[in-house]
Each structure stands twice: as structure tokens, then as C-alpha cells.
């Protein structure tokens, strides 16, 4: 049986990371002559359950599921399975009902690598301010965990501030960082758990006339990469969104035609600095 129609349920297109995956899936599908039906949950899991229901009604051959909400809901996977439609989970996987395959970046490892880099560039010394993502979400928890692992091996860096954002948004990052600088003008390192947060922090550092701060982000979205190139960000972890999109589509096609794919397909993220950012900007991995 040949796959013709693939359903793509995106968590939230307002987040660049998801949007890039979506674009990659659509681009790849167009090249392969497959129809993709995209739905956007706008971050709400209940909406997403409805949308998956609609995709099932629409009789798609496979569903690519990027779960919305704090952590992945299992209901969509169960519903699809009940209708004999294979599911490819991307970024997050429902723990109690895993999808047929799971494609994601190994966030813990990536965050640890980033932490080690920070330790190295600063010579293992400095005052660290951390801007977390939305509390309780999988990426926030994983990135916290990975970075903390690295910091445990880097005693010279002192964590002086840690504050969560609500929407992973740049404006929030700006305001939170501004407050942090107000409290402690001696901050030397900003770690934003997403590029947007890091960019906000960088802007705050600029306005606050902080020189020689190291600002690192995560995701490697276009704005983040350009900022790395211009030196605004010291480094970011580039997730291979294009690759993940292609992989998701390929897996979906394979599953639809009855082939098997590995249950876990974790992708590494690339530590990106001024030295290696160039190719990523011309073609995002």
C-alpha cells in the first residue's frame, strides 16, 4: 500500500522550532508528491485531540504528531492506533502510549555539551544567570538537567540568578534579564533555554552596558544562528529541524506501507559558534 496522505499535527506554529519542522515536512512531501494535511493546536492539547480525530476521519495514511501541552498526551496515539493509523512522534513522546517511532533531539546530552562549552570558554569562572523555559515542559526539564550536569563539573561558575519564563518569548527574556542585571550587574554568563530567551538577554545586556558577557541559547533557529554569526550570541545548540522533518516524513511513509522503523531515532544537536555557523545559515540542517 502506497502512502498518499499524511497528517501533520503541530503543537504550536507560533514557535519557530515547530514551524521549521512543519516546513521541512511539507517541502519534502511536495518533492515526493504526497499530500500533507497540517493542523495547528496552538499549544492546546484538547484542540490537538480534536484535530487528530479529524485527521483520522480524513483517512490519512499516517500521522506525524508533535505533541502540544506541557508533556505529550497519549490519547491521540491511542485513537490513531485504534484506527490502524501509524504515528510518528516528534520532539516529545507520550510515556504511557509511545508512538511507533520517536524522533527528537537528545536534549539532555545537548544541554550538557553546551554547559561544558560554557565552562571551557569562560575558563571555568563566572557568574551565571539562567532563564528557563516554561516550567514543567519536557524541554525545560531536560535542558535544566543536562546543563546542571555540566555545571556540577565546573565549580568555578556560580549560579547567581535563575528565573522561568512563561512563553519562551524574547520579550520575556529581555525583561527577566533586565531585572537580573539590575540585581547583579556583575553577571558574566546568560544561559537562555531557547534562542529567543537568549536573544532577549543579549539585548538586555546591551542596554545595560554589560560588556564581555557570554550569552548562550538553544534551538539554532534562524534568528539565533544569525545572532551567533554577528556575535550577539556566543553559542547555541542547533537542532536538526530539517533533518527531523525529512526523517519524520520518511518514517511515516515507511510505517504506512508496513515497513518497520526503529522505535527511537534520537538526533544529536550541533554546538554552533561563530566558527561553524556559516553553513547552517545557508542551509539549515
Amino acid at each position: 500500500q502506497e502512502a498518499k496522505t499524511i497528517g501533520l499535527a503541530v503543537a504550536n506554529l507560533q514557535a519557530d522550532f515547530f514551524n521549521q519542522i512543519k516546513q521541512s515536512v511539507e517541502k519534502e512531501a511536495q518533492a515526493k508528491g504526497i499530500e500533507v494535511i497540517t493542523v495547528d493546536a496552538g499549544g492546546d492539547s484538547a484542540t490537538q485531540v480534536s484535530q487528530i480525530q479529524d485527521l483520522i476521519t480524513r483517512d490519512v495514511d499516517a500521522i506525524i504528531y508533535i505533541p502540544a501541552g506541557a508533556t505529550a498526551a497519549s490519547v491521540p496515539v491511542q485513537a490513531a492506533k485504534a484506527a490502524n493509523i501509524p504515528v510518528v512522534a516528534v520532539d516529545r513522546n507520550p510515556p504511557d502510549a509511545p508512538a511507533d517511532t520517536f524522533i527528537a533531539t537528545d536534549s539532555v546530552a545537548a544541554a550538557e555539551e553546551l554547559g561544558n562549552f560554557v565552562c571551557k570558554t569562560t575558563g571555568g569562572k563566572g557568574r551565571l544567570a539562567e532563564i528557563q523555559g516554561q516550567i514543567g515542559t519536557t524541554p525545560q526539564i531536560d535542558r535544566d538537567e543536562g546543563f546542571a550536569k555540566a555545571m556540577a563539573n565546573c565549580p568555578g561558575i556560580e549560579e547567581v540568578a535563575k528565573q522561568a519564563s512563561n512563553q519562551w518569548a524574547q520579550d520575556e527574556g529581555f525583561n527577566i534579564a533586565q531585572a537580573m542585571i539590575q540585581r547583579d550587574p556583575e553577571i558574566t554568563i546568560f544561559w537562555g533555554q531557547a534562542d529567543a530567551l537568549a536573544l532577549g538577554a543579549a539585548q538586555a545586556a546591551k542596554v545595560g552596558n554589560l560588556t564581555d558577557v557570554v550569552v548562550v541559547g538553544f534551538d539554532g533557529d534562524v534568528a539565533g544562528l544569525e545572532a551567533v554569526q554577528s556575535g550577539t550570541l556566543t553559542a547555541t545548540m542547533t537542532q536538526q529541524t530539517q533533518l527531523m522533518g525529512r526523517l519524520a516524513l520518511d518514517s511515516a511513509i515507511k510505517l504506512a506501507s508496513g515497513e518497520s522503523v526503529p522505535a527511537m531515532q534520537l538526533q544529536p544537536a550541533t554546538l554552533t559558534t561563530k566558527e561553524n555557523v556559516e553553513p547552517f545559515l545557508t542551509e539549515h540542517p
Binding site: S45, D54, R58, A70
Partner: protein, 309 residues
């Protein structure tokens, strides 16, 4: 039945259905109709409460957040505090009612405009919903619980859809045929007139917000069953959808006008739109454009029609 008030939106709904039936072969089927009912259950239950609030001339921005708090409270009570799930369900609904009580008191005793009172409650309850588990969701409800939302008895209605339909009927009868229900229209028309007629405006106002809160609690239980989890981010932004549904259904934000039948149609218009656009495969961004336009059209159609009369 008297179609007076709901003829406009009803025509809109029918047109919409015809359009989608033509555009997508998957639209017109019993299964899809049941799907739509499934999908609008939460919105519909919230809209019942919102109808009453809007009829008395108020507005409730907090429904989405109250839903989230009730949902988390239920989950927390069942999972962390170890209460039996049915008890936790009841306490979840009670949580919603308590939030409604706060809104009601803010509106009547503190004399806050409903917009502000419920905006404040919205912010506070969203915070509390997150604080309860530090932003994490609660998963792993027993099967019987999720079955409430997923198993369609006799091939038709799941328990949650049944609850929705029953609540609609009760609220419809209440607003049309009970003196108490009619009094709500008097309050919305002019609270001073209502007071002079011996209606206890304060008490009714408070009770209306309590009812809306309790219904948000019921919606929360429904959604938890549907999602098989409790999420602190649930219901984000749903208040605007709910208000839109009620107003599309012919209610006036100035108060004193509205009906449950109209609201049902409003809810279905939104549900059918979302479902149909997904089935046709309209891209998400373009969906926003279409939904906004249809809302404007539906209400314009109705108000212009009414004005010409």
C-alpha cells in the same frame, strides 16, 4: 418551537454544513457528526454557563483558567492526596464553583466590572493551576474514567457528550420556563428595574457566576477524561471562543438577551468550522482568517437582519 431568535445563526450553520459537505466527502457522515459533538463538548458546557452570565449582563473571562484549576485540583486530589477519583471529580467541580463564587463576590460586593473581576480571577486561577504541580501535567487516570469520553454507548453518545446534551436541555428549560431563569433576563435588561420588582439581584448574580464556575468544573472533568490527563495549560484562550459562540447564538453583551438554543448553534458553528476546515485541509494560518471572517459574517447577518425588522 419558536425560531424567532435563532433563525439567523441557524441559517448560517446550515449554509456552513452544505458548504463543507460539498467541499469534502468526509464531512457528511454520522461518525463525523459524532466527532463534532465530541469536539464541542467542553466548549459547549462552558458556553452554557457563559450564556447565563451574558444574559445577566456580565462576562466571564476566567472560564478557561478555572477549567484548568479544577482539572488540576481533581488530578492532584486523586493522585497526590489519594482521594478516590469520584470524590476528586466532585471536588473538582466544587473548585470551579468556588472560583465562580469569588468572581460573583467581586462583582457584587466589591463592585468590580465583570470584565475586570473575571480577568483577575483568570490570572490568579491560572497561577494556582500551575503552582499545584509546579506546571507539570498529571497523567494516568483509570480506564473507566477515560472511557467516559471515548466509548460511544449504543454506537452513539459517550457519557461526556450525554452530560453535555443533558446540561443543555436543563439550562434551556431553566432559562425559558422557570421564573428564576426569566429573572436573569430582567437583571440583564436593567438591574435596577429587577431590584424594584423585588428580585434579589445580588444573590442571583452571585449564583450565576457560581453556576458558570461549576460548569467550568464539569468541563474540566470532561476534558480530563478526553485527554486522559490534567494539564495546567488547559483552556488557554477558550474564553474568547466561548463568548464568540454565545454571541453568534444571538446573545447581546449588553445583557438581557440570549438563549441556550442559540448558544448551541453558536457552539456548533465554531465546531463545524474547525472540523470542516481540517477535513478540507485548509492550512492552519488560513483557518484563522476564515474563522474570523465567518464569526463577523454570522453576527453581522444576524444583527442587520434584526435591525431591518
Amino acid at each position: 418551537m419558536d425560531f424567532g431568535g435563532v433563525a439567523g445563526p441557524l441559517i448560517g450553520l446550515v449554509l456552513l454544513c452544505i458548504g463543507f459537505a460539498l467541499a469534502s466527502e468526509y464531512f457528511l457522515s454520522v461518525r463525523n457528526a459524532l466527532n463534532i459533538l465530541d469536539q464541542v463538548t467542553v466548549l459547549g458546557i462552558l458556553a452554557i454557563g457563559m450564556t447565563m452570565v451574558i444574559v445577566i449582563g456580565g462576562i466571564d473571562l476566567s472560564v478557561g483558567s478555572v477549567l484548568a484549576l479544577s482539572m488540576m485540583m481533581m488530578g492532584w486530589l486523586a493522585k497526590t492526596a489519594g482521594l478516590p477519583l469520584p470524590v476528586a471529580m466532585i471536588l473538582g467541580v466544587a473548585t470551579g464553583a468556588a472560583c465562580g463564587l469569588v468572581s460573583g463576590l467581586l462583582v457584587t460586593l466589591a463592585r468590580l466590572p465583570p470584565f475586570i473581576a473575571t480577568l483577575a480571577v483568570m490570572s490568579v486561577t491560572r497561577g494556582l493551576a500551575n503552582i499545584l504541580t509546579d506546571g507539570r501535567q498529571i497523567v494516568g487516570y483509570p480506564d473507566w474514567f477515560t472511557n467516559l469520553a471515548t466509548i460511544r454507548h449504543l454506537g452513539f453518545f459517550s457519557v461526556t457528550v450525554t452530560v453535555f446534551v443533558v446540561l443543555m436541555v436543563i439550562a434551556g428549560v431553566f432559562l425559558r420556563y422557570r421564573a428564576t431563569g426569566r429573572n436573569l433576563f430582567a437583571i440583564g435588561g436593567n438591574p435596577e428595574v429587577a431590584r424594584l420588582a423585588g428580585i434579589d439581584v445580588r444573590r442571583y448574580t452571585i449564583l450565576t457566576y457560581v453556576a458558570a464556575g461549576a460548569l467550568a468544573g464539569v468541563a474540566a472533568v470532561t476534558m480530563a477524561a478526553r485527554l486522559n490527563s490534567s494539564q495546567p495549560s488547559a483552556g488557554l484562550g477558550i474564553e474568547l471562543d466561548t463568548i464568540a459562540a454565545v454571541v453568534i447564538g444571538g446573545a447581546s453583551l449588553a445583557g438581557g438577551v440570549g438563549s441556550v438554543a442559540g448558544t448551541l448553534i453558536g457552539v456548533l458553528i465554531i465546531g463545524v468550522l474547525r472540523n470542516g476546515l481540517n477535513l478540507v485541509g485548509v492550512s492552519p494560518f488560513f483557518q484563522m482568517v476564515v474563522i474570523g471572517s465567518v464569526i463577523a459574517l454570522a453576527v453581522a447577518f444576524d444583527t442587520l437582519g434584526r435591525h431591518r425588522k
